[in-house]
């Protein structure tokens, strides 16, 4: 009979103590995520820090709850290929948007047309605006 006929041959032995520790770590990290947004850091730093904490949380869930830590290499390869293709999809698009934003920013347009008046820069800047969110503020 096949060496893999045992139904538990690729199932992971649970470690309840570890699961409880991961749970507590995830709760603390959730509080940290909320706290980061409350201290009103400059937006780029807040985003970088917030996503960094989210990445740690996702890694904990993936590695220890989904048992990716110690998982078969075939699964690792499949995920690696997925992430690679995801990066191929995402990175050029993000770069395109960043480049578009730079070359159409009022400061950049003004630098390209030093003799011109500010109206041109404003017009170009206005033309790249997407829908500004019309959001009624709510008190919580």
């Amino acid at each position: 009979m096949s060496k893999n006929n045992d139904s538990r041959h690729d199932e992971h032995r649970p470690d309840v103590g570890l699961y409880v520790k991961v749970f507590l770590a995830l709760m603390v990290l959730t509080l940290i995520t909320v706290a980061i947004s409350k201290i009103h850091l400059p937006r780029p730093q807040a985003i970088a820090l917030g996503l960094f904490v989210a990445l740690i949380k996702a890694s904990l869930v993936g590695a220890l709850f989904m048992h990716l830590w110690g998982e078969n290499k075939l699964i690792h390869k499949a995920l690696f290929i997925t992430v690679g293709f995801g990066a191929v999809l995402i990175l050029p698009i993000i770069d395109f948007v960043m480049v578009s934003r730079r070359i159409t920013s009022p400061a950049d347009v003004a630098a390209q047309h030093p003799g011109g008046h500010g109206g041109h820069a404003e017009a170009v800047s206005e033309s790249v605006k997407l829908d500004a969110p019309a959001v009624p503020a709510k008190g919580h």
Binding site: D10, T30, V34, G62, A78, T82
Partner: protein, 201 residues
């Protein structure tokens, strides 16, 4: 030496020459496709946000306390489903049913909280048509909510199957619980990124 043909071999976790059962490999490949789906949505979110002339703070326009509560609920449900797996591994049927029922209740709790949140927004006349921000907010949280519904259906199915001796004693049952757990943890991971991206940053 020739191999004996066995058309039902897959039912016995047949050797896949990789050490991974077909079922588990199938679940991971499905999750890989899900990663691509949500990656495209997150890319859309990033592109729209970066190209927009203004973007609201989540604190100003969304209900952060309710979303924080939902984060706690979802993380807790990730623990309860992994506990259900641990009990299934130990062949403790009552323990499995207790933890799986807790997972389903928490999942329903998540949807109830989300319904309150959506309800308050709809009452104010806010919908996907309101702005780009709300369009991406409703798309991403709505798709995530549909995934929660799918998870509830699978988990409820496993809870029912555990009450049928034939299914509970099936050597494949543990693998099914593990597959359902993998899916549920993936749904949790998506929320882990959605929460700060939409509500906090």
């Amino acid at each position: 030496m020739s191999q004996t043909y066995n058309p039902t071999a897959f039912m016995n976790n047949a050797d896949t020459h990789s050490g991974v059962t077909n079922a588990k490999l199938g679940v991971w490949l499905f999750l890989a496709s899900e990663i691509m789906l949500f990656a495209t949505l997150f890319t859309s979110y990033i592109v729209l946000r970066m190209a927009s002339s203004s973007w609201p703070w989540g604190w100003d326009v969304l209900n952060v306390p309710l979303a924080t509560l939902n984060t706690v609920i979802l993380i807790t449900s990730s623990v309860t489903i992994v506990m259900a797996y641990a009990k299934a591994y130990d062949k403790d049927k009552a323990g499995f049913q207790k933890w799986m029922a807790a997972t389903i209740l928490l999942s329903l709790g998540f949807l109830v909280v989300k319904a309150f949140e959506y309800g308050a927004e709809f009452k104010l006349g806010i919908g996907p048509h309101t702005s780009v921000f709300y369009a991406i907010y409703f798309t991403m949280t709505g798709l995530h909510g549909i995934h929660i519904l799918g998870g509830i259906a699978v988990n409820a199915g496993l809870l029912y199957m555990s009450s049928v001796t034939e299914h509970w004693e099936n050597p494949l049952f543990l693998g099914r619980v593990e597959g359902a757990g993998l899916y549920w943890h993936f749904v949790d991971i998506v929320w882990i990124f959605l929460f700060p991206a939409l509500y906090l940053l």
